[in-house]
Amino acid sequence: MSIFKKHNTNADRSASDRRRHKEKIEKAIKEGIHNIVAEESIIGQSGKKKIRIPVRGIKEYRFIYDQGNGSKGVGAAPGSDIKKGQKIKEGKKKNAGGDPNKPGNQKGEDFYDVEISLDELAKYLFDDLELPELEKKKSADLFSEKYKRKGYRPKGIRPRLSKKETLKNKIKRKKAAIRNGSYDPDSGDRFTFHEDDLKYKHIDVTKKPITNAVIFFIMDTSGSMSKNKKYLARSFFFLLYQFIRYRYENIETVFISHTTEAHEVSEDDFFKKGSSGGTYISSGLKLANDIVGERYSPSSWNIYTFHCSDGENWSEDNPKALEFMSRLIDLSQLAGYIQIKGATNNMWGEEMAKIFEPLTSESFKVLKIQDKKDVWPQFAKLFGGKYEL
């Protein structure tokens, strides 16, 4: 009596609404990503590795009752063995060091785990940022040639003859000949290749200007650089690396760690080695100057220099530091001094940020980072992002 029918219209009816939803999520990723740039999970990952990041779901707000402390609900038990005071659900264990006020801890939050590659992350993060005067260097003279197959041509050199296309042309011609009667397939005559059948693979050459960049990461590893400060420095350097890598084809990195004297070290050592000793800020800057002189001619390299320290320096070194810094600024496309300092940190002497402050220009910025949450805003400031402080 009822009617049955196989359903085969509008099979994927929600496709457009899903697309809109996805667009909203992407926007949320873009907006929320700044909060996670300093999280352990993304720092120090390399290559195309996929990372999972939590994104807050797109909420549909309505009036609801508070489901928090003291709120009540009703359930029904399958067995008879329930009693007053019995615990039926375990709350979430507090994460060590977790921020209890973090919005994510609230009930009813939708979290999507979105999997993106570092490249995508870079795209989301960096699309709004600009490198100052990118490619101002002589790169216009330097080109890399890229070869790419691009269709077929009637003329060409023998090694590029496309047998397949040539044969196709011959067959076409043969069929046509049979159709209009000019060739009889049963006659036993061979139907030969003709000059017009020949097709050659075409190779297109595109010239691309080479953009070379070298980034100098200089870090103070004196005794006062605590693990936490180094972690912040690492977050910042990680962002820098990803960002500059995102803009350049060819990128090299130089890691310099220094106490009272400076050494070029491997990336691994740079971040992992323990800290001890006093500080000469100038030592790291001087070594960077030397390395530029030896290996990276400013005429063909875009140079980026970033120096992280906690701002303490032996005061007798200050004039020298100032001098080497200004020399480095002249060589660099962009230079930055990043002072990482806890809020409660009291130090003796004048902090380096103050000393470097007068050098500030389009191509030199002094940044201060106290906390994980400063990492992104300071980073954006460095590249003139729209992220206002």
């Binding site: 009822s2 009816r13 899903r18 029904a76």
Partner: protein, 443 residues
Amino acid sequence: MSYDRTTYGIEDLKEFDDKICEIAKGYGLDWYPINYEICDYYEMIGHMAYHGMPSHYNHWSYGKSFERTHFMYNMGQSGLPYELIINSNPSIAYLMLQNDFYLQVLIMAHCVGHSDFFKNNRCFADTDSETIVSKMRNAKRRIQEYSEDPNIGLEKVESFLDSLHAVRFQTERYGMPRKSKKAIKQEEIDRFNKYKEKGIVLDYSVLNKRLLKRDHDLLSFLLEYGRGYEKWELDLIEIVKDESHYFMPQIKTKILNEGWASFWHYKILHDLSLTDDMHVPFLKMHNAVVRPHIGGVNPYHVGFYIFQKLEKEFGLEKCFEVRETHDDVAAIRLFLDEDDFRELNMFSYRREKNGDVFISEVSDHDDWKTVRDDMIKNTGVNTIPHIFVDRIESSGELVLKHEHDGRDLDLDYADNVVEHVRKIWKEGEVKLFTIIENDVWEI
């Protein structure tokens, strides 16, 4: 005869449908004709996202709903509902290809129960079941047109819908039939005139006030009292309002509706005298459907219990009467006593700050009434906070109030909803008064 899950065809379904209909008629069930659409699981999720409506306007939230269901289904976290049927004449129901044959039979019997409930329960009297499908189709078309209109566009339509959706359930509640602006005014005039006849002159200036009576149906309120809307905005308000009014009775009768459908699939399947290879899995499925849920009220569980009890104590006729005249809250109040609460093993629980949940009351002699009251608070319209329009100030400011019943609002959500109302109230500020931890709170 045995029916294999992979080899049954539409003919087999028809054969059983005929039997089911015959049995149901014999009992006096009176339902809309049912159109079954056979679809695969992917289409099923698609229909679920739009509440089973064959056509429905587009909005990203339905995409979200799809993604969530699809994700959960793929993760094995949830099965799909075995039945999806809409309140329309004819009723439209969906049968998933992947279902075993016995399950399709169960679903068809279940759907007859739902359709009968839609057709006969008083709450559904004004739900336009005759026209709802074409109404939704037309609404979809118009919204599509607005989205494509260069003077309006998708962004505006979407954001206006976002705001309307935020308040769409702030609508009619139990025992509060809404009066139109005109009717309220006429009543007041009549009242004034009555006094006038007795020689008492009241202050007529009151009549010039825009809002004479608090209004708990926010979308109807906007339509009648709001100013400055463009035509398409008024249309959107009306579309969303109509849909809310259409779905509200289903919120009010979830327990009875599911209970009634389960009561009948159980009865009908019993009368079908199935062979063991169908009867055993059917019983298993039935038990799974009506089992208690520890974290909340399972409407199938409680509803099935209510109708079974009514049949046992008062006979089948009483069951028909209840399906016609009651909603969930009334049925819980009237038909579930201490013994029933104990039998259902209902309890109240309390959430602690750290997320732990403890049983606070069980259905014993001392506490069963508390459990019942908590249950009623978590049933039907009572799950939706009661927000009403209190007044419109002369400045154009809209003042909303929350009728506090001991439960505080979730402030984060409330803030955001008020923000949405600000977007659709064009004449001035919007304020909401509520109570948080025993103090007045203003948003």
